[in-house]
Each structure stands twice: as structure tokens, then as C-alpha cells.
Amino acid sequence: MTDEERWSSNSFLAGAISMRLGIRARLILLTLAFLVIPVLAYISSQEMKRFMLRHQQSSQLIAAQALAASLHGQYAQFQMRQEKSGELTDAAMFIHRATSPFRMDGLADEWAPAASAVREFGRESLLMESGGGFDPATGGFKLIVARWEDHIYLLVSVQDETVIPISRGWTDPGKADHLRLGLGAPGEGERKYIVPVSSDGELSFLEEAPGGGRVERNETLAGRVKINSRGYVMEIALPESQIAGSMTLRIIAEDVDDQRRGRVKSAIGPMEDGAPGLIHLAYFQSPEIQGMLDSLDLAEVEARVFDRARRLRASTGFAADVSGEGEALRILASGAPYYTNIETGPNGEKVVAAAPIKGSDGGSLGVVILERSTRGADSMQDKAMENTLWGAFLAFVAVAAGLVIFSTRLSWRIHRLRGEAERAIDQEGRVRVDGLEASRESGDEIGDLSRSISGLLKKLRSHHDFLAILPRTLKHEINNPLNTITVSLENLAAQEMGQAGSKYIQSAGRGVARLREIVDNLAEAASVEDSIQEEKFEPVDLALILERYMENSAGVYKDRRIQFSNRAGKAAILGSDYRIEQLLDKLMDNALDFTFRDGTIEARLERMNGRFLLTFYNDGPPIPERTLGNMFDSLVADREGDKSARTHLGIGLYVARAICQGHGGGISARNTSDGKGVEFLVILPAARHG
């Protein structure tokens, strides 16, 4: 690849880029900057979301603190009273208020809403063991007490690696894994039951006679048991009336691992007031606090109030999910308000704020927990994002449309200006107008451009005008001194001169004549266009003129073969016969100059499409390619073999072209395809009849 090729390939690329991206495309590309708006909007909406979250956190915390403050010192409300009898100890277990009935099927699934009411009994509740080696993984149980209508339901989930159900025919139910259940206050008419695990799932409640020994079935109680891989689960339903008096319950899980010997290996249950397995019961809610929460009508907020024994005393909402409580409660141990964010799913998050309720002694009475999802902030972010995207899109469309209109108009104006500027100068480089019309009155840069081009054209035109009149001015100015020389030479010649003297006078005379011819030719060329414009054209027969002209020329120039062939018949054109003759003179002069003795000069006339084509051929040497394009311009005469003594400024062909154009036609030149001659092609329009 040569340097030039490399250069041109580089510039081709640059050219292609700059060519394809017009003003319009570039402006539209610029509008892509609008795409930054959604990005900025996203960033700011994220910022806004963070701000809203912080706001939510702090406001939620303040709300929790306010709620907690309203409960400060409300010791009376937090007096953990049993509804029926006396004070409630911290160890009292709450009865979960169920919102739907329980199915007695031994499965724990519908107990989930009561999960917060679960109480676990493990090693610390070991009442008895035999054989040592208590395995903390077995024997412990979880208890939930719930109420639905007038029944109390117990869910007892016992851990036991080796579950031994009661077998048919056994007289002693104590040989199977079993619960001991006591209903009523100990020592005050308490009724005790043994509830053995059964393999068919149906629970039987065997009541021990107050004196001991006798075991009777109690049919007022019902339940199911389900054995699973970790142990067994019992669901028990009993009439509320059975516990209503004492609000106590005794429950002990006794584990039997040796079926043959039937000995109880361990017994687990709470130990309260010297009564093994005793559990104080309390109804779930604190009605006053619940009433207060209800009256707050907290939209989208779930509020819970726990007492210091971590029992749920009041709540709004029915969300089964109580995650976060544990953590909040643990932090509560520090006694300081607290908030945290908890993820609730792939896209969900909630803010949990907790504040302690202080008692009058400064200790904690309980805790208020407010939970609220961040959906508000999220949806607000989404909404803001959506609005911004729409806004950005509409702005983009509007601005792009505006730019398209603007740039189309701009392009159109520039195209128009360019077109007009191009037309302002004709093929011969002459300025045809005084100024441009496009954007002439416009106050913008294109208007400036138009005016400055007009200014340039005006200058160019006045320069051209100057050049155009220059030959005539020159002739005018030169004629006087030329005349002085001419007449002086003549007077000199009239004197008696020697032979040498008259020789010089003659050569001076020839020089003056040559000079005069040059000036005349220049002046003729300069005025020929204007002169033709002023002439009155008449119908003339081009064929007749040509025929006579070529015939006469053949008679004058006998050392050339001059021919004419007419294929057009009568060739009427609108024109001036002596201008046509002048045109033929120029063509003939040219042909004579460049042909040799016995050379051929031939004119052919043809008709084509309402025009006449005159081919003026001579068998002279071909014209160099570089000259073909500009040989009709003034002062161009470039043909090899031009040894003529005649003045030859190429003015002849310039005049020829002016005559052709003045007649609405044109002239061109070419070398013949065989390279043996030159053809001048003159085209003149036919006269229109009628």
C-alpha cells in the first residue's frame, strides 16, 4: 500500500463517518444524553428510599416509645391478673385465643398462630429420673394452651426417642409413655388423669381415684396422639369448666423406655408451689391494652405488647409470622429502645421498632413492638421511578421531535443555500446573481453565511465585470498609442529612407498589425456574448449555410479536402446567419491550423431529437486529454504542431462557444476513436414551427 493509498483509505473512513452523520443525526445522537435522566432518577430514588427508611425507622421508634410511654407506670394494667383469681405470677402461662377451631388429629399445623404462646420444659424441669443419664434430647416437651369457644385445647409435643404406646390388654397404663394431667387446684378437688400414648392415635383419659389405685375412663375429655420420628404429639380438648375454677393445670410427661419392666425412666414437668407439674394459666390478652391498640387504628402497622415474662398481652393484625420478636426482646434486656430491619422475603423488608415499658420502680414492665413493612418506601420509589421514566421518555420524544424539526429545517436551509450558491456561478465560472436569496433576512449564523457569500459573490462579480471590460478598456487605451505608431510609421515610410530603413519600417508595421489583431480579437471575445444577446434572430437554414460555406471554402483552400455531408435535409434554426458564418470561420481556422497539406476537413449535419448535430472533423493530431476540458476557455491554445505564425490565443474557440451558447446550443471536442483526428461537436436547437 502506498502512502497515498493509506492516506486515502484513512480519510475515506473519516469521511464516511462525517458524511453519514449529518447535522440531524448528530443532534439526535445528542438527545441520547436524556438517557442519563432515568439513571439519575434511580440514584435519587434510592437516596430517597434510604431517607424514607430512616424516617420510617425513627418515626416507628418514636411511635413505639410513645406507645410505651403511655403504658409507663400503668402498672395496674400490667398487673398480671388472672381473670378469675388473684394475681398472676410471671410464670403463668397464657391461654392462646384461637381464631379457628382445632382438628383433633395429632398434627400441629393449625397451631402455628399460637406459636408465641409455647412453653418449653426441659432439663430444668426434670422432676424425677431413674437409672441416670438423662438425655436432654429426650423427655422434654413443649406445651401450648389455647381456647376456642368453651373448650381448652392442649398441644403437647414430647421428645422421645423410644415411644412405647399402650398395648391392648394392659392393665397398667403407666407401662406406656404417658402424660399425667391434673385439672383443678391441687388438694381442692383436683382430678388426675393418666393419658398413655396409644398406637391407634385415639387418646383415653384414665382418671385416678382420689384415693389412688382405681383408674376410670373419663369420657368428657378427648384427644389424639401422633407418633413421629422425634417423639409424639398429643392434642387434647377439655371443657373450659374443668379449669375455670382454679386456672391451674398440672402436666407431667413420664417417659417409659423399657416395655417389659414398665418402669418410668424420667418425669418432666414444672415445679411450682411445691406441686409438681403445676402451671398457672391466664387468659391471653390484657383487654385494656388490646383496647388501646385497637383504638389506635394503626394502618399497615402491627403492634404487639409483651409483658416482662415475654407473654404477648395485646396485638393488632393476625400475622402468624412473629419473627423479630425474639431479637427485640433480647435487646430489650438492655432496657434501651431499639430498631432493626428484617428481610421478610426476596423483595420484602420490614422495620421492627421496640421500646421498653418502664414500671414505676424503673424496671421493665414489658415491651412495645411495632412492625411495619417498607412497602411504602418501595412503592414510592417504584412510583417515582415510573414517573421519572415516563417523564424522561416524553421529554426525549418531545426534544427529539423538536430537534428533528429544527435540524430538518436547518439542513433544508443549508441545502438551499448551497444550491443557490452553486447556481450563482455558471459552468464558465461567471457570477450570475448579485446575491443569494436564501436566508438573506435571517438573523442567525446561516443568515450571516448567506450575506457573507453574497458579499463574496458581489466582490467576485465586480472583479469579473472588471475582467470582462478589461479587453475593451485595453483596446480603447492601446488604440491611441497604436495609432500614433501606425501613423508615425506611415509618415516615416513617406520619407526617403534607405533600403535597410524601409525594411525595418515594414517589420515594425507587421508588428503593429499583429498587435492590433490581438487587441481586436480580445475585444471581440469580450463583447461577443453581449453582442449576441442584443441581436435579433431570424429563421435560417443551417444546411444551406453549411453547404455554401464548405463549397466556397473548398474553392479557397485547394490544398485541403473539404467536404460536407448533409443527413438532416433542410435544417431550420433560429439564429443569425453571419454569426453562424463566424462560428464556421472559427472552426475552419482551427481545422486549417492543425491539418497538413491534403488533410481532410469534413462537416456532417444530422438531426436528432429536435436538435441539429454538426460534426466538424479534421484529421489533424489529437488534442491532449488535459486540454479537451478547457480548450473553449479564453486564452487556451494547446495543440502540438501549432507552429502557425498567426496570433493564437484560443480566442477563436471561446468565440465559437459563445456563439453556440447564444443560439441555445453547445460545443464540445473529442478525439476520434481511431485516434486519427479531432471532432468538434456543435449542437444547435431546431427552430420550432408554428
Binding site: 500614433t484 501613423v487 455554401r548 460555406y549 479557397v556 464556421l584
Partner: protein
């Protein structure tokens, strides 16, 4: 007594050359470079013929003004314009003022002298009550008196300049024969051998005939050669 030739030319070199040439031909030249001086002198002592330049110093049309004033004072005075102004409009203006001929520089002094002599001959002929029969050419509707420089077409007189008259005379002397451009130039006492110059004269002549007779077509172009007067 030699004829007095008044010459007004602002270029003293040319003025002296003309004067020398005229003197050599036996005339008595009186030269001025300024229009006002020339007018004053010629009004008192009119020359027999005046050769005027048009641009005289600062006066662009000084020659025209002078011609008008002179002809007002001496209506019969023959005037030849000899100028560097080649424009048609100047030529028409000059001839309209009543000049016999309009010559552009550069000119041959011999031709100038010939023209002067021709004018004196014509004036002499005209001053005689009856012209000689010789020198009168008649062909078809054309009658031409070479001595008096008068032309009639179908009986109507035609006003031609000296040059135009000599071209018509050359053509109609032998109707049907082609007069070449060169011979027409010689006849018209013109130095320039350019077809276009002859063509211009022919156009003027045709126009003048056409003004009398729109169907006039006697002067025919023999392309590449010259012109001929068509035979009847």
C-alpha cells in the same frame, strides 16, 4: 489654393502626424488639441473639412459637442470622426450629428487622405449643376452616382456613410459576382481584414435598404467568401 483641413485631436503626436500627412498630400492642416480653441477658430475661419476626435482631454464627448456647434454655424461642412471609441452607440451618435464618416483608430494615413480626397471630389461634383453621365450605375431598382455619392432605391434616396456607399458601389458594379471580404475592405478604404467588420457594415446597409423596402434581399452572403449583389 490648398484646401484647409481642420484637425482636432488631443494627442499632439497623432495631431502632428495627421498634419504632416495632410500637408504631404497638398492640403493645409490646422490643428487644435482643445475643443474650445477649435470652435473659436473654426467659427471665424471655417475649414473645408474637419477631422474630429471624440474624447478631447477632460471632455469625454467634446468632439460631438464641437461637431454640433460647427455644423450649426456651417451646415455644409463635411466632418469625419476619427476616434478610439469603437462602440456602436458612439458611431450612431456621430453619424446622426451629420458626419460623413466614422473611422476608428488605428487608421492608415493614406486611407484617411483617400477619404478626404473622395469627399472633396463628391462635394465638387455636387456643386456643379449637372453631373457627368459617367460614374452613374443603374442596376434594377438601384441608381448610384459615384461622383456625387448619392444612392436611390426604387427612386427613394438612401443616406449612406462614405464607407457604406463605397461597399454598395463595389457590390453593384458587377451584379452576380462575388466580392470577397478583402476586396470589399479595399473598396471601403478599410485597413482591417476581419470578416466581422465587413459584416457589420453590410448589416447597417441592409437595415437602411430594409427601412425603405422590407423585402430587400439584393445583398447576398456568399459564406466563407464575401457578398454579392443579386442579379435581377
Amino acid at each position: 489654393m490648398p484646401k484647409i483641413i481642420g484637425i482636432v485631436e488631443d494627442d499632439t503626436d497623432q495631431l502632428e502626424n495627421y498634419a504632416d500627412a495632410m500637408r504631404r498630400k497638398g492640403y493645409e492642416p490646422v490643428g487644435y488639441t482643445r475643443a474650445d480653441q477649435a470652435l473659436e477658430a473654426f467659427t471665424k475661419n471655417p475649414p473645408d473639412l474637419a477631422v474630429l476626435d471624440i474624447s478631447l482631454g477632460a471632455e469625454v464627448d467634446g468632439g460631438f459637442e464641437l461637431c454640433r456647434s460647427l455644423l450649426a454655424a456651417h451646415p455644409g461642412l463635411p466632418v469625419i470622426f476619427l476616434t478610439d471609441r469603437v462602440d456602436e452607440i458612439d458611431k450612431i451618435s456621430g453619424l446622426r450629428l451629420g458626419a460623413w464618416d466614422y473611422e476608428t483608430k488605428p487608421i492608415s494615413l493614406n486611407f484617411l487622405a483617400e477619404k478626404v480626397a473622395a469627399i472633396f471630389r463628391i462635394m465638387e461634383s455636387r456643386s456643379q449643376p449637372h453631373g457627368k453621365a459617367e460614374g452613374i450605375i443603374k442596376t434594377g431598382d438601384l441608381a448610384l452616382d459615384e461622383n456625387r455619392m448619392t444612392v436611390t432605391w426604387k427612386g427613394a434616396p438612401l443616406d449612406l456613410t462614405l464607407t457604406e456607399f463605397r461597399i454598395v458601389a463595389a457590390l453593384c458594379r458587377r451584379p452576380g459576382d462575388v466580392k470577397s471580404y478583402e476586396s470589399l475592405m479595399d473598396s471601403a478604404i478599410q485597413t482591417v481584414v476581419a470578416h466581422n467588420t465587413v459584416n457589420t457594415h453590410i448589416r447597417h446597409i441592409r437595415k437602411k435598404f430594409a427601412a425603405l423596402d422590407p423585402g430587400f434581399d439584393k445583398i447576398q452572403n456568399e459564406y466563407a467568401l464575401g457578398y454579392r449583389w443579386a442579379e435581377d
